[in-house]
Every structure is written in C-alpha cells, then in structure tokens.
C-alpha cells in the first residue's frame, strides 16, 4: 500500500484544554476545516514548529518532529498575510533563501505593477496575493496555507486556486469553508466532528 503523505499526531494546548490531533492521509492536499476556536491555526503553527507540542510530524515518510523550525523548509501563508514592512513587495517575495522571482506566478496574480511598492500601501487582497506568490516562489517540503483566499475577489481566488492545484508538493489548507477545500481536491478533516 502507498505510504502516507501525512502522518501527524500532535498533542497541543488549545486555550485551557489539551487536545490530540491526528492527521493521516494518502492525499497530497489535506484540508482542515471547522469553526473558529477549535485550534486550526494553532495546529498549523504546531506543524510549522512555532508552538510547543509533542507527538510526531511525518510528511512523505520524513520525520520533522525534532527538526528546527528554520530547517523544516515549510512554506507558510499566514492567516493575516503578514508581509515584512521594511521590504518591498519584490523583496518580500524573494525573502526565502534561494527563492527566484516567479514571473509567471506574478503575472497570473497581477502583481507586476506592485513589485516596488511597500506593503503598507497594499490592500488586503493585494497583500494576500503577495503572500501566496511568496510561498509559491519557494514551496519547500510542505505548504501550509491558513485561509489563503479570505481577502480575494472571485477572479483572483480562482487564479490562486489554479496555481495551487498545479503544485505537486504536500499541502495543508485551512479554511472554514468546505467549498475552497473541495475545489482544490483536498481530503477534508473537519475538526468539528
């Protein structure tokens, strides 16, 4: 039988509760959904190594549990699309070591005219597109996207979804809408159940 792409079992502190999350899937794309407050973002941050947790993180048969955050090479689109304020859009996209400017992605996401701008002058949707371009320019071993379409209009949402569909690396998508996860062909884990 094919090896699991995701074999994650994490014990986490969510608010006052201790919870155990099991993410097991043969699919390249795993979607996590559920209402606010169930720990979707905390779970993503634990996989990234940003919050303390115990358990195992195996992605494509490689164990990352004891790998330092900066050595995991996971790309991340945070929920609020945080961009680095003292860098231009272009510098933000190229921030990850070894990243190349992905011209086709930049054109598809309509970012050509924004490359020299500073992040404070971007709208929420523009910031989200830059955050996506940044993650796509250096996808690493895993992509974690936390509500990556929340600020996008219908056209840009579709373009972003097409781009993500073309990526051939493991991906964890967090969303509170099932539709986004279904479009991307994710195996869906509903934390509410």
């Amino acid at each position: 039988m094919k090896d699991l792409v995701f074999d994650i079992s994490l014990n986490l502190q969510i608010g006052l509760e201790k919870k155990t999350f099991e993410l097991k899937s043969h699919h390249q794309r795993l979607g996590i959904m559920g209402p606010s407050g169930l720990g979707k973002t905390t779970l993503a941050r634990a996989v990234l190594g940003l919050v303390p947790s115990s358990g195992k993180i195996n992605i494509s048969s490689l164990s990352y549990s004891s790998v330092k955050v900066w050595d995991r090479r996971f790309s991340y689109v945070p929920q609020d699309s945080k961009l680095i304020p003292h860098l231009t859009v272009e510098e933000n996209i190229l921030f990850t070591p070894g990243a190349n400017l992905p011209i086709s992605i930049i054109q598809l996401l309509g970012l050509e005219h924004l490359l020299r701008r500073m992040p404070r002058h971007l709208s929420g949707g523009e910031k989200q597109r830059v955050a996506l371009a940044r993650a796509l320019s250096s996808p690493g071993n895993l992509m974690i996207l936390d509500e990556p379409f929340s600020a996008l209009d219908r056209i840009n949402r579709q373009k972003a979804q097409d781009l993500l569909k073309s990526m051939q690396i493991p991906m964890i998508l967090i969303s509170h809408t099932r539709e986004d996860l279904e479009i991307l062909g994710c195996e869906i884990l509903n934390l509410d159940q």
Binding site: D80, K82, H86
Partner: protein
C-alpha cells in the same frame, strides 16, 4: 577662559558623549533584547543592576565606581598592572557617563523590541532563517527607531553628566573638564557668568543637533516604509 580652553572643553564633552554612546550600543541592544524577550529567575536582579544608576543619585554612582575602579580596589590594581588608570582620566569620565545614561538606552531598546510584531519573526523562522539571522533581518531593522532614540538620549545624557563624572574623573582642566563641569566652575567665579552662558549655548546646540539628527534619520526610516 581662552579659546584653547574652550575647544578642549568642547572636545572632551563630545568625546565623552560619543564614546559613552558607542560603548553602550551593543550591551544596550543585547540587554534590551534579553529584558524584552526572556523570562528567567534572575531577571528581577538584572533589572535592578541595570536600572540602579537611574534611580540612585549620580554622585552615589560615581562613588561606587570609584570604590570599584579606584587604585586601591582589586579591579583598579589589576588594571594598574596593565598600565590602565580609570580615576581622574577621560576614560573615567566616559565610564561614569555611560553608566548613568545606560539605563535610558536599555529602556528605549527594550520598549522597541517589546513592541515588535512577533509574527514577522516567526515568518522569518519558517522561511529558513535561524533565530540569529532573523534578529539581523527582522528584529534589528524594525527596532531601528527605538535604538536610534536610545542612542540620542544616551549621547545627550552623557554630554550633560556631572555628578558621577566629577567623583570618578574629577574636574581637571585640559583633561577631564567637560561643559557641565566648566559651567559649574565658571559660576563659582564672579566674572564667569557670561562665559558660562556661552558654554550653555554650545551644550544646548549639541543636544538639539542630536535631536535633529534623530528626527532626520527617524523620518528617513518611516519614509522608506512608504
């Protein structure tokens, strides 16, 4: 007061202000970071040691320094063997000034690091930068206005330092006499008031220049973000 005396006084003052700021820079950044970001058992004690000179009378700080670095102390004797003398030298004036202004520097840097958006540093870690590289690429550049403000305040405070400096370095004409000490001496003489006013003008000019440089660089920083 001769012109040569005036230039020696101004030179000593600027040198003390500049060197006190320079030697404080790295420790202020390091300790500001530790106080903003770390939690450890002896943190309260570290706070006490750093901020003590801010609440103690400067003369007391000078006296403590004299006891620690004076010729009869263990450290003073050790330094003496290496040919280094601290009391009643310009080095002593720099150390006294730096110590008195250091807490203000650390306070500004700590506030700056505390107000940083931690999610940007987290993002840098996930992008593949180690904590040290993240500090250099994210934390330090974004804290630049606070560090700059701390440096300007440290410089201005060092320039005007009197109490601790006069105890440790003395008021030696042509050697350790700074603007503050010269003003004090001149006010003691019946004809010194006009010359004291002249020095006061210089002192104010240097402090205002420091503030203007800060405003200029700070403005450039925010302009860069636009």
């Amino acid at each position: 007061m001769m012109n040569a005396d005036l230039s020696s006084i101004i030179e000593s003052s600027l040198l003390v202000g500049f060197l006190a700021t320079l030697i404080s820079l790295i420790p202020a950044i390091g300790l500001g970071w530790i106080l903003a970001r770390s939690d450890f058992r002896l943190k309260a004690l570290l706070n006490l040691v750093i901020f003590f000179p801010m609440v103690s009378p400067p003369v007391v700080t000078g006296f403590v320094l004299l006891k620690i670095l004076g010729r009869n102390s263990v450290i003073g004797q050790g330094l003496g063997l290496m040919g280094v003398t601290i009391p009643f030298t310009l080095t002593g004036a720099v150390i006294a000034s730096a110590l008195v202004s250091f807490p203000l520097f650390v306070m500004m840097v700590r506030a700056s690091f505390s107000s940083l958006d931690r999610s940007l540093e987290e993002y840098s870690l996930t992008a593949g930068y180690s904590p040290w590289k993240t500090f250099l690429k994210i934390s330090l550049p974004l804290s630049w206005p606070g560090i700059l403000a701390g440096a300007v305040i440290c410089f201005a405070r060092s320039l005007g330092e009197f109490g601790a400096t006069i105890v440790l370095a003395g008021d030696i004409e042509g050697k350790t006499r700074t603007i503050s000490m010269a003003i004090y001496s001149l006010l003691d003489s019946p004809t010194g008031e006009s010359q004291a006013a002249k020095l006061l003008g210089y002192s104010l000019a240097f402090s205002l220049t420091g503030l203007a440089v800060y405003e200029f660089l700070n403005h450039r920083f925010w302009k860069r973000l636009e």
